[in-house]
Symmetry: C2
Subunit: 314 residues, 2 copies
DNA sequence: GGACAAAGTGCTCATATGAGCAATTCGTTC
DNA sequence: GAACGAATTGCTCATATGAGCACTTTGTCC
């Protein structure tokens, strides 16, 4: 009777698991109690764990998924990856994880380049005081908001700098300019150029990405109209990274627009030793894939389902 | 900064737990990796388990709650207790647990006394072939169904006996008789008396209990009318055990009715070495309490929430 | 029925781990 | 600032545990 033998073993396994994990008896004791050798007890316990009869879970808002992180690192050649288990407040948990990562980053960065947006804001909130000592926080893309949400970009930088015992350097420029000449003029202007030079020297970058649709912060802030974005999408735009719209291959969708965008170039980001990319949420799966595949980041901080989406193809 | 120190420790604990349980690294390795001594790693792991950061669960239909079982044994002086975790099919899981218990019972009973009803039926179904060798299964209370469900009681006994390689002995009598004289006459009748004698000799009893309301099997089978039951409830009936209605103290509610009930007496059950009581479900919390408190059983097989209800009072 | 591969078993031994204890640090109270 | 008790730390040592291996059992194919 093979099936009943299997059932017997399974039942035995369950009893053993209970005695070991709930009653914390020793494998010897269990063996004596149930009439099996302690080696068999040990083997059945291993099986119980492998077969999922015994489930060990780490229940904590700051828990991570190290297994998936390893897969991401290996699959995409990343320097590091941080994956947070799915939950109802992923955005906040991912931001927390990014803040934790930044805090634990060694060597402590002397200059940190950051983008801006809702995600970065949230990371700033989750950072603890003293996360660094005397850090210079430089904006890496134009940050003056044209419409509402005044000062968001600058307060993010200020908060991160202040909590790291340092000071922010703001990029005094719009994100996107209307005319190419203006963009060139502003980029070479002493005050702006100096900031971009500091940005280029940063030891680490921390940035997020936007989705290419009318919900974009760039639309919200008045740099682009919903029609502009629709046009970009037609040309293959997946989303924006530090203000620059890219296609599925990670290249600027619209070279003209790209030239009118003020800030660190994508290639500078690609060349960076430590480029930390923070993404969360279903909507950003596509742009996340693009960023990771086109090697725009060396480190990713994300949620489990985004990570799964990245890993699932072919 | 006390709170931030606490937060740090907690975060460290989470990291340690991940490395230990998910990545199965050794405590040494973890210590080296995170810059703490291996003893601290060990201590934090213990804390993590105690504080519920690490949750170890045994996910299996036949899992049990040994901790609660121990409490039940101690609190009520039971010989044994079997508690199954709550789930959506408690009835079936509890029946399975009872079947498992019976199978593992040593010494293997030569004579088993059983009651009948939905619960017992289910236990019979869950028993495996060869659970005993040559067992005699005796009905301990009258079992002829008056209305529908013909033969239910006898098939239960037959199934248990057959699977145990033995034969059933049926009690050829109604559960409750209308007149006292008939009851006396039938109980002293050779065929019935012989069965009751065997029942009294049983090495173990297995029975369930009914709730005192119109859903009772005794109503269903036509022995009592819904009005009869309503009257009994008025007199304090909580439910029935082997066909006998008892009050909260475990005494017969209606001595007249009790005398007209054919089967093993409650005191015989109380005196038994091995009286296994199987109950499941919210509705039976009260009768379960009564049975346990009035020492009608020496072993209880039940679900977690029933057990919790038993344990919760003062 | 015999031969062979696969799975399972009992064991040795190196290693990982928890209990228990002395030394230290920390936080409080005077 | 001194004195005290409580918590925390690093450690020793006994014990629990898993890896690896020879041996046995089981199942399968000819």
């Amino acid at each position: 009777m093979p099936s009943s033998a299997t059932a017997d073993t399974e039942l035995l396994t369950v009893r053993i698991a209970e005695l070991y994990y709930d009653e914390n008896k020793t494998q010897d004791e269990i063996g004596a109690l149930l009439g099996v050798t302690r080696w068999k007890v040990g083997r059945l316990l291993t099986q119980a764990r492998e077969r999922g009869i015994v489930r060990i879970e780490i229940m904590h808002p700051r828990a991570r998924r190290l297994g998936i992180e390893r897969e991401l690192r290996e699959r995409f050649g990343l320097k590091d990856a941080v994956v947070v288990p799915d939950s109802d407040d992923i955005r906040s948990r991912v931001a927390q994880a990014a803040a934790d990562y930044l805090t634990a980053l060694r060597p402590v960065p002397r200059i940190l380049g950051i983008s801006w947006g809702r995600t970065l804001d949230s990371v700033a909130d989750h950072l603890g005081n003293g996360w660094a000592t005397g850090v210079t926080v430089v904006q890496i893309n134009g940050g003056v908001s044209l419409n509402r949400r005044p000062g968001t970009a600058s307060t993010t930088a200020a908060e991160i700098a202040q909590k790291g015992g340092g000071h922010p350097i703001l990029l005094p420029s719009p994100a996107i300019l209307e005319r190419l000449e203006t963009a060139r003029a502003i980029s070479t202007d002493r005050t702006v150029a100096a900031v971009l030079d500091r940005a280029a020297e940063a030891n680490a970058y921390l940035y997020s990405a936007g989705v290419a649709d009318s919900s974009s912060v760039l639309v919200d802030s008045g740099y682009l109209t919903p029609e502009d974005v629709a046009e970009l999408v037609r040309k293959g735009a997946v989303g924006d990274v530090v203000g620059r719209y890219i296609d599925a291959n990670g290249n600027p969708v619209d070279p003209g627009l790209d030239e009118r965008t003020v800030g660190l170039g994508l290639d500078q980001l690609r060349a960076a030793e430590t480029a930390i990319f923070v993404v969360a949420g279903e909507a950003k799966h596509d742009i996340a894939r693009t960023v990771v595949m086109s090697r725009l980041c060396s480190i990713i901080v994300t949620d489990e389902s985004t990570a799964a989406a990245l890993l699932e193809e072919q």
